[in-house]
């Protein structure tokens, strides 16, 4: 891809994979997919991808293209029907999955080309002969070649200024279907700077609009109009405040600083003999005033190191029993009494520091300044877009139980006075799986963070991956959200990801894994595929601590492991010291 970008040659991707190879060892499947998606989001050449067999994340790794084609007899799915059947039927490892269940799941997942075209995840179908293309079907290959060239032409033409007639001609070709070797229309595949810019804008718009109709909470036209006006005025305000005024202010500050620096040195030089004479005459003994405490800038109010707020009791702490720390054999931890463990100790074993899983409300209370959380996009709801049998009830139950509409919570909050935008995937709603609604909320959070020049924190309490009941609409969130992240980081933002408890699969392989700053809470598990999937795919057994945060750190997938009780302090330090030249407080 780098070579093509340097040379300015369009790229054609052919996707023929049942999925990705799920081992975590360096460089790591998830990390490579994330890196690919991040690079492809703003690659400066046109890209076309053709899907023959597309297995979820592995296929999407090279699927973020300007035009997506698919063979009529191919498939593009979020998970194989066998995997979905094993999950649905709660089949244990080693048992046989009933064939009818596999058939039913294959039906429900909507993996055919026609379904994908209907849901907008691909742009065009290439028709294969009746029983599918065979290896020696050279007529089909000729047709494939012309289809791809036509797609490349279409993508390139969109970026050109003079295109009316050629575009019409390319449109006409579709109906004709006679394939010839030589191109009949003269379209240059070299793009100049403006055309490349247009290409990137079209790509961004294409992925922003994916899965647009598959979540609820779209406002009424009047409300939408009001929101639009509000957004435009907000954009104007923030541009004025941060780009114009702030830059001006920064320049002024720099000038004043320089002048005062020079002035003070000059003054010292001039007055040195006078002050020496004065000191000699008066010969006052040095009275040392009280020294300010180290590390504090004079004039700022002293920080309260204990920060006693309203007490929050975790609901887990209301049982009267003891639990054993899993490290009891190794470190000799005594049994922990639950009210102490989840109350005072914050879910941390006092002997070895093992972190017991804690609910997400604890983090909402303890991480951010009190009363600083303001939710937005809360009306966006997850729905059942594929009409997956039996899923609507479970979704409704999840909404009733949590009181929220999706697995992603986005809000503004402040951490020790630093304002930031936070998106949180939590476990109670469908195990934190990502679907169309969650992706949309995430993209909106990126946009808001970019608008207001705030850092973006993605705190992943739990994510089980992509919601399989939403099929490829879930998989398409991977490139969509990665594109939003790329734009946010390119505009000078700071994107920090913190993993907690179980963080697996899709999101880790896309919009979470592409962040330059990834941290984890102790005792969390981060990975791409679970134990069973790895065993069934590779046939190898893997050690029980394969997905531990410590191993992820060893492999270089994350940059640090934080203690839950130090999370707030560490996050504040990270926000002040790391990345993002375009943040409001720089």
């Amino acid at each position: 891809m780098n070579v093509a970008e340097t040379e300015g040659i369009p790229i054609h991707f052919y996707i023929f994979t049942p999925g990705s190879f799920p081992v975590e060892d360096y460089p790591g499947a998830a990390q490579q997919i994330a890196r690919n998606l991040y690079a492809m989001a703003k690659l400066q050449v046109p890209m076309i991808s053709v899907i023959s067999e597309g297995g979820s994340g592995g296929a999407e790794a090279i699927g973020l293209a300007d035009f997506r084609l698919m063979f009529s007899h191919g498939y593009y799915s979020v998970i194989s029907p066998e995997g979905a059947a094993a999950i649905e039927g709660k089949i244990r490892e080693g048992e046989k999955v009933p064939a009818e269940l596999i058939e039913a799941c294959a039906e429900r997942l909507r993996i055919t080309a026609q379904d994908n075209l209907k849901y907008g995840t691909i742009d065009r179908i290439i028709q294969e002969p009746l029983l599918g293309a065979k290896r020696d079907d050279f007529a089909f290959f000729k047709e494939l070649k012309s289809e791809i060239i036509r797609a490349t032409d279409e993508v390139i033409l969109k970026t050109k200024s003079l295109r009316a007639f050629r575009a019409y001609e390319v449109q006409l070709k579709k109906a004709g279907g006679d394939t010839t070797e030589e191109p009949q229309i003269n379209i240059s595949w070299d793009l100049n700077k403006d055309e490349i810019k247009r290409l990137l804008v079209y790509r961004s718009r294409k992925y922003r609009a994916m899965a647009r109709d598959y979540y609820a909470g779209i406002p009424s036209p009047s409300l939408a109009c009001y929101r639009k006006i509000r957004n435009i005025s907000a954009t104007i305000y923030y541009t004025f405040r941060y780009d114009l005024l702030r830059n001006h202010q920064k320049v002024m500050e720099k000038v004043i600083e320089d002048v005062s620096g020079e002035g003070s040195v000059l003054l010292k030089r001039v007055s040195a003999p006078i002050s020496a004479a004065y000191n000699f005459i008066s010969r006052k003994s040095d009275v040392k005033g009280p020294r300010p405490p180290l590390g504090r800038v004079a004039g700022t109010p002293p920080e309260d190191p204990y920060e006693f707020w309203d007490t929050y009791t975790s609901p887990l702490a209301n049982e009267d029993r003891t639990v054993t720390c899993p490290n009891a054999e190794k470190h000799g931890c005594k049994d922990l009494w639950v009210p102490d463990l989840y109350g005072e100790f914050g879910g941390v074993c006092e002997n070895c520091g093992f972190h017991f899983p804690l609910e997400y409300e604890w983090y909402l209370k303890h991480l951010f300044d009190p009363d600083s959380i303001r939710m937005f996009s809360a009306e966006i709801e997850s729905i059942n877009p594929l009409n997956y049998a039996g899923f609507a009830d479970r979704l409704q139950a999840a909404k009733a139980r949590t009181g929220r509409n999706s697995a992603n919570i986005t809000f503004y909050a402040s951490v020790k006075g630093v304002e930031c935008v936070v998106t949180m995937l939590y476990s109670d709603f469908r195990n934190g799986t990502v679907g169309a609604a969650e992706g949309e909320k995430f993209v909106r959070a990126c946009e808001k963070a970019r608008l207001k020049r705030r850092p973006l924190l993605a705190y992943v309490h739990t994510t089980g991956g992509i919601r399989i009941q939403e099929g490829t609409l879930g998989v398409i969130q991977m490139p969509k959200c990665t594109m939003a992240v790329r734009e946010y980081i390119d505009s000078g933002g700071l994107y920090i990801v913190v993993y907690d408890n179980n963080s697996y699969a899709g999101p880790v392989a896309s919009f979470l894994g592409c962040s330059p700053y990834q941290f984890a809470i102790r005792s969390s598990r981060i990975g791409f595929a679970g134990y069973r999937v790895i065993r069934e795919t590779t046939g190898d057994d893997i050690p029980p601590d394969y997905h531990s945060a410590r191993n992820a750190l060893k492999r270089g997938h994350i940059q640090g492991i934080w203690d839950r009780r130090e999370f707030r302090k560490n996050l504040h330090k990270a926000l002040l010291t790391m990345g993002g030249r375009n943040l409001y407080y720089r």
Binding site: D320, R321, T322, D335, P543
Partner: protein, 215 residues
């Protein structure tokens, strides 16, 4: 040669009763509920990293914390204190005995432990062979190195400082090595086993004897 008689006695003992009786004691106080009966077959932990636990022996609960106790080895339950079922037990109380059939390797190991002079680790630290012994190992091969009391045979790496450990004990040949260089050994665990050169042939005879007898 009274050592000879000793060996014959040992072999006769192992022949008559080739079992190891493993006592299972309670780790702490609590209420016990047995999950096996007398004469049941139990398995030890399995899997490459011993991550699949052995058979469930009993469930132990204290302050509503249920803990499952698994079997450490395979074998047959030979003694079980049924009268304690469902009741309160103190810590360290012997509740089960598993009769573990000894394998050939284990018998040889236990005989060697008794017969060889064991040089124990003075501290919990990492141990390496000294350079002198290392070179002799490479040149002469195993089981050919004679050591005398006062030789520096092992280097102990304690808190990143290397200290020479001098051998004290019977002069003889290094027969078996019980440590891996660079792996921490607890204080008091045997590091090497030494036997006198005259006894070496005898020991080899015993080992072949045992290997032939037991399959």
């Amino acid at each position: 040669m009274d050592e000879n008689i000793n060996f014959d006695e040992i072999i006769a003992k192992y022949r008559s009763d080739p079992y190891d009786y493993v006592d299972i004691c309670t780790p702490h106080t609590g209420q016990i509920r047995f999950k096996v009966k007398m004469g049941d077959d139990v398995n030890g932990s399995s899997g490459t990293w011993h991550h699949i636990p052995g058979s469930l022996l009993y469930v132990f609960s204290r302050e509503k914390n249920e803990k499952q106790i698994f079997s450490p080895t395979n074998g047959v339950v030979s003694a079980i204190r049924e009268e304690l079922e469902g009741g309160f037990v103190e810590a360290g109380e012997k509740v089960l005995t598993i009769r573990h059939p000894l394998k050939k390797r284990e018998i040889i190991e236990s005989i060697l432990q008794r017969v060889l002079y064991l040089f124990k680790a003075p501290e919990t630290a990492k141990y390496f062979f000294s350079l002198d012994i290392q070179s002799r190992l490479e040149k002469q091969g195993e089981r050919n190195i004679t050591i005398e009391p006062g030789d520096e045979i092992i280097t102990m790496s304690l808190m990143k400082r290397d200290i020479a450990v001098y051998y004290d004990g019977e002069p003889g040949i290094i027969h078996s090595i019980y440590f891996q260089p660079g792996v921490t050994m607890e204080q008091g665990t045997p590091l090497i086993g030494v036997c006198a050169p005259e006894k070496l042939s005898l020991i080899q005879k015993i080992i072949t004897h045992v290997k032939a007898e037991w399959e």
